[in-house]
Structure formats: structure tokens, C-alpha cells
């Protein structure tokens, strides 16, 4: 039912069909399926929650108070697991509120898919996405080259900064945490630490594609662990897939699709690194990719 020549020279075809109409869809009409449906929903939600944070202080609307480090949703504690771990290790005291807050976060992201925090909530990720667009343009014009780093650095960071918190008794990472800095900027106004965030963004644009989120950010690691257990995943339909691999060309973490699109081994995108951003769902003309709930899908 699909053009099979596509399968053979997947890479080239993906380049060819990336921008223009290409495969899009003479054969498959798209019933009300906007090209950026999930991206727009995602950005709207990201904006919505960050505006809630902003409004809590600026307009004193007490729905979501605090920042991404720690907040209260209608009075219920929510605390970033990495920040909470650092505080516990630095102060050597376990506060009940911290536990409650972290458990709430774990429950929420169990339902909504782990690293979905990154692409659906984190304001730094949004900036990085924009930076990535600029980066890609510059790459295309051959002005710059991309450099990749080891993806495991994030885990080293996680360990190092937790160890530092324990040894020094200070939440060392929180001084340079761009997520917290941006979040505080949104709610309480600018601080000089924004310069560090801007430097990071420039580094990402000019040197390494979305480097912080891809290789370094230890905040995402906590959510990654939650994501391992979260049943909300991207679902891949082998039958419908024409293997054009455009999904991988837009994916924020392209290798997470390997098991499905490249190897055909798995029905779900099982990698914990998947941010459930939905860019692949948007780009897929074959409707082979969709949001699914592992385990439950089968029951229904």
C-alpha cells in the first residue's frame, strides 16, 4: 500500500520529503490533522503552566505557587526529585514535606510519561527547541558544525552533584540549574544568573545541538526513571509504517525510535529518554505513530 522504493533509500527519501509535500498524502488524506497539532498543544500546555506560575506571584492567583524546584498545586506540595535529593543530602534531614512533594511528582509523571516534564513543562526546553531551530538553519547553511557529547554525562552529573551536596552541605547544582533559574526568572523577575542560561543557549546554537537537554541535564534523569515505569508511551504501528524515517529527523532524541522504526522490534517507544513530545506523531503521514498506553491498550 506504500511506495516501497522509500524503504530502500530511507535516508535520502527522508531528506527529499522532509519539507515538501512528498509522501504527504496523496494516498492518505489527513482528516483535520494539523501539521503541528501535538506541538501546538504541547506549547500551549507549557505556556499555560508557566503562566500559572507567573500569575501566582504577579496577580496573586493562588493555583500553582512556587517554581519548578518546589511548588504547590492548590495547596499540594510538588517538589522536583533532584532538588529534593540535594536538599536531603546537604541538610542530612528528611522532611516529610519533601517526601510528600516528590511522591506527588512521581505519581503525576507516572500517569503522564516521565520525561514529558521536559517537553511539556520545562521552560528551558522550550528555549532550547527554538535554539535548535536556529542551529539547524546554521547547519544547513554550513556556517557551523554540530558536535555531539556522551549521553551518559547526565548520569555522571547526577552522581557528582548529589555527592557534592552530601560532601559540601550545599545544594551546589541549584546554583547553576538553568531550569530553576529560568523558572525563578518567570515568577520573580530577572537575576544575573540569566547570563549563564544565555551562555548555555549560545553554546547550544553555535556548537552543539540542544546540548544541555541531550547530554547534560541531570534534572531530566529523575523524570527518566519515572518514565521507565510510566505506561504512557508513543505507539508504533508496524503495518502502517512506510519507514520514511521522517519521525527520526524531527525527534528530539532520535535514537529512541531505533527499536521501532529501524529494527521493527518493539510496538512502543520504550526508551526512558523519550520525552513524549509528539513531534513524530505530527510528522507521520502514515498515522503509524500515536500516543498509547502500554499494557492498557491491549486490555481495551
Amino acid at each position: 500500500m506504500k511506495n516501497n522504493s522509500d524503504k530502500k533509500d530511507g535516508k535520502q527519501a527522508s531528506v527529499k520529503t522532509f519539507k515538501g509535500p512528498g509522501l504527504r498524502s496523496q494516498n492518505h488524506p489527513q482528516p483535520g490533522h494539523g501539521k503541528h497539532k501535538w506541538r501546538n498543544i504541547r506549547w500551549a500546555i507549557l505556556l499555560f503552566f508557566n503562566v500559572l506560575f507567573f500569575a501566582s506571584f504577579f496577580f496573586d492567583i493562588q493555583i500553582l505557587e512556587g517554581t519548578l524546584s518546589a511548588s504547590r498545586l492548590l495547596g499540594f506540595h510538588m517538589i522536583d526529585p533532584l532538588a529534593a535529593l540535594q536538599v536531603i543530602l546537604a541538610s542530612k534531614i528528611i522532611m516529610v514535606n519533601l517526601i510528600i512533594g516528590v511522591v506527588t511528582i512521581i505519581l503525576i509523571y507516572l500517569a503522564f510519561g516521565g520525561r514529558s516534564f521536559c517537553s511539556w513543562i520545562c521552560p528551558y526546553h522550550w528555549l532550547a527547541e527554538l535554539g535548535e531551530k536556529i542551529h539547524q538553519i546554521l547547519i544547513k547553511k554550513k556556517i557551523i558544525k554540530n558536535h555531539t557529547f556522551d549521553r551518559n554525562i547526565r548520569y555522571y552529573f547526577y552522581g557528582i552533584f548529589l555527592a557534592l551536596a552530601l560532601i559540601t552541605g550545599f545544594t551546589v547544582f541549584e546554583t547553576i540549574n538553568p531550569v530553576a533559574i529560568i523558572s525563578r526568572f518567570i515568577v520573580y523577575g530577572p537575576s544575573l544568573m540569566l547570563l549563564w542560561v544565555i551562555a548555555l543557549l549560545i553554546f547550544e546554537i553555535l556548537y552543539s545541538r540542544r546540548a544541555w537537554c541531550r547530554y547534560f541535564c541531570p534534572v531530566g534523569v529523575s523524570y527518566q526513571v519515572i518514565g521507565l515505569m510510566s505506561p504512557l508511551r508513543i505507539k508504533w504501528d508496524k503495518e502502517k509504517c512506510s519507514n520514511c524515517k521522517r519521525c527520526q529527523s524531527v525527534c528530539l532524541v532520535p535514537h529512541v525510535l531505533n527499536d521501532c522504526v529501524n529494527k521493527g522490534k518493539s510496538e512502543y517507544v520504550n526508551s526512558s529518554l523519550c520525552t513524549r513530545c509528539g513531534l513524530c506523531v505530527d510528522i507521520c503521514d502514515d498515522q503509524a505513530l500515536s500516543y498509547g498506553v502500554k499494557y492498557l491498550d491491549k486490555l481495551i
Partner: protein
């Protein structure tokens, strides 16, 4: 990316290795160098209930929820110059002191206990202590009434359009303290219908220069005008605790009697006195974290800790 990978597998692997080493090494170095560098000796005035500074820095998760619930909105978040204090709350007493609100909402809001939940009353806070930092300008020592002082300051601003908000504030404070007879003088001077406080304060917005002079003279001669400034005590949110006692003293040189504002043990260092002190540079200031015992041990002016 993949193309590059297949072309130069070795150099890429090398790059990955060295960059990983460099970056993780950088993180460790940041911890090793950053901790001594980013530790600041300077103490900030923290919200009520704050743990000892090191514990506070360890516990504060930098979420700013204390700012959100602060009714007078006097908390700020520290910037990069504060070392590990980045994102931690502090008070600039001269800009706005802590009012020790009932129930201490900031303490209740703190999710990590950096503002310890074991205090519930403002008078139990231990933020610091007030000290008379400039006895030479202190109006109480000089025997000057604060309202007269402020009115004269207004008059000194040569361009005559007395700052209405400041004037209103002074008059509001003054009228509350006038006796009935004095209020009547006020009433007749400005031809007001009655002597209720509201009417008295609502005297014409457009005061003439001569009116201001009259007000100053009137204030000086009023019973209130005879009293030396006690603003620090009057404005203290816990003045029921007798935080400041005005002690009779005599100047050994001029043999003049004056009242010395003596800060008592009950002072918690909220900073309202520093905020309200009418002299251009506050004559009373808060030394954050200063304990009563330390103060008694002699060092009334412990090394300047404010910045």
C-alpha cells in the same frame, strides 16, 4: 550526525572520551573551587524562623514560596553575588522590615523547613538584633521630635510643592497624637466643620508655604512636639514585648539629659525600626543573626555583616 560518525569513528570516539572527562571533571572542579569561593561570610537578614546560615543554605530549595505568601512583600531573592545564596530569600530592612505577621505565613509556606516550622509567633523569631549604629544622628539622643524633623525636612526642599504623600503621612501620624484642644486649634485654623480625624487630615491639598510654617510651629508647640522621637519603638511590630526601652541618660560634656533607646533581649531583628527611622541614614540598624549573648559579650558593632 550519523554520517559524521561513520566517517571518523576514531576521532569521534576520542572526542567523546575527552569531552566527557573534561565536562565531568569540570563539574567536580566546580564543586571543589566553587564551594570555598561561593561561600560568603556576609550575612543577610533572613525571614523569621530561618535555620543557622549554613543549614539554611543547605535546606532552602530556592522555590520562593515564602515571597508568594509574604503580605508586605518585603522578601527578595538573592542574586549571583550571594554565592550559594542564589535564589534564597532575604530582607533589606531599610526598604521594608518584616512585620512578623500573625501565623508567620512564610514559615508555613516553606516546603523544606529551611524556615523552621517550630516557631509560630513573631516574638519567637531570631533574625538578628537591632543596634543603635549612629547615636550621633539619633533623634531621640538629640531630643528632636520625629514629626517636627520630617516637616522641617519637607520645608527644606526649596522648590515648594511639598511631597503630598510624605506630608499626608506626617499629618496622619500627627493628628492621631493631638489632644482635643489642639485639634480644635487645628480646626479653627483651617476652618474645618468638625474635629474628627478624617476631617482634620483632609485639610486642603494645596498648602501654602506659610501654612507649612504654621504647621511646623504648631507641631513644635504641641504636647507631642515636645517629645523626642520614639519611632523605632512605636513602629515595632512586637512593641508589647518592650523591645526598646528609653533610658534616661546625661551627656557628660553638656550635662544635658537625653533618652537613650536601649534595645532589649526581646528584639527579634525584624528590621521595621531600621525601615522607619526618620534620619537620612538609619540611626538604628539590624545586625542579622546577632544573638543576645554575643552582643552582651561586648561586640555591639560586630564586624559589618550587612553586605
Amino acid at each position: 550526525m550519523t554520517v559524521k560518525q561513520s566517517k571518523k569513528p576514531i576521532s569521534r570516539r576520542k572526542f567523546l572520551k575527552t569531552s566527557t572527562l573534561a565536562i565531568t571533571g569540570g563539574a567536580v572542579a566546580y564543586g571543589a573551587v566553587g564551594v570555598p569561593l561561593l561561600r560568603r561570610d556576609g550575612l543577610l537578614l533572613r525571614p523569621p524562623g530561618a535555620l543557622a546560615e549554613d543549614h539554611f543554605l543547605a535546606s532552602c530549595i530556592k522555590c520562593g514560596q515564602c515571597l508568594q505568601v509574604c503580605p508586605p512583600q518585603i522578601l527578595h531573592l538573592a542574586g549571583i553575588s550571594r554565592g550559594f545564596g542564589i535564589g534564597t530569600p532575604y530582607i533589606t530592612p531599610r526598604e521594608g522590615g518584616c512585620l512578623l505577621c500573625a501565623g508567620l505565613p512564610c514559615v508555613l509556606a516553606c516546603p523544606t523547613g529551611a524556615l523552621a516550622h517550630d516557631i509560630s509567633l513573631g516574638k519567637d523569631a531570631e533574625m538578628g538584633l537591632a543596634v543603635i549604629s549612629h547615636p550621633d544622628t539619633c533623634l531621640s539622643v538629640l531630643g528632636i521630635n520625629d514629626l517636627v524633623y520630617r516637616l522641617k525636612n519637607l520645608q527644606k526642599k526649596k522648590t515648594f510643592s511639598p511631597d503630598q504623600t510624605e506630608l499626608n503621612k506626617i499629618l496622619t501620624a500627627l493628628i492621631k497624637k493631638l489632644t482635643e484642644d489642639e485639634k480644635k486649634v487645628w480646626q479653627s485654623k483651617f476652618a474645618l466643620p468638625d474635629v474628627s480625624d478624617e476631617t482634620l487630615i483632609s485639610i486642603p491639598k494645596q498648602l501654602e508655604n506659610s501654612d507649612l510654617e504654621w504647621i511646623i510651629k504648631f507641631t513644635e508647640s504641641s504636647g507631642q512636639g515636645q517629645k523626642a522621637c520614639q519611632v523605632c519603638l512605636e513602629e515595632c511590630p512586637i512593641n508589647d514585648e518592650k523591645t526598646i526601652l528609653f533610658v534616661n541618660k546625661t551627656n557628660p560634656d553638656t550635662k544635658q539629659d537625653f533618652l537613650w533607646p536601649s534595645v532589649r533581649k526581646t528584639c527579634v531583628g525584624c528590621g521595621v525600626c531600621e525601615e522607619k527611622c526618620p534620619t537620612p541614614v538609619a540611626s538604628i540598624r539590624i545586625i542579622p543573626r546577632l544573638k543576645w549573648s554575643e552582643k552582651q559579650n561586648g561586640s555591639q558593632t560586630r564586624k559589618d555583616n550587612l553586605t
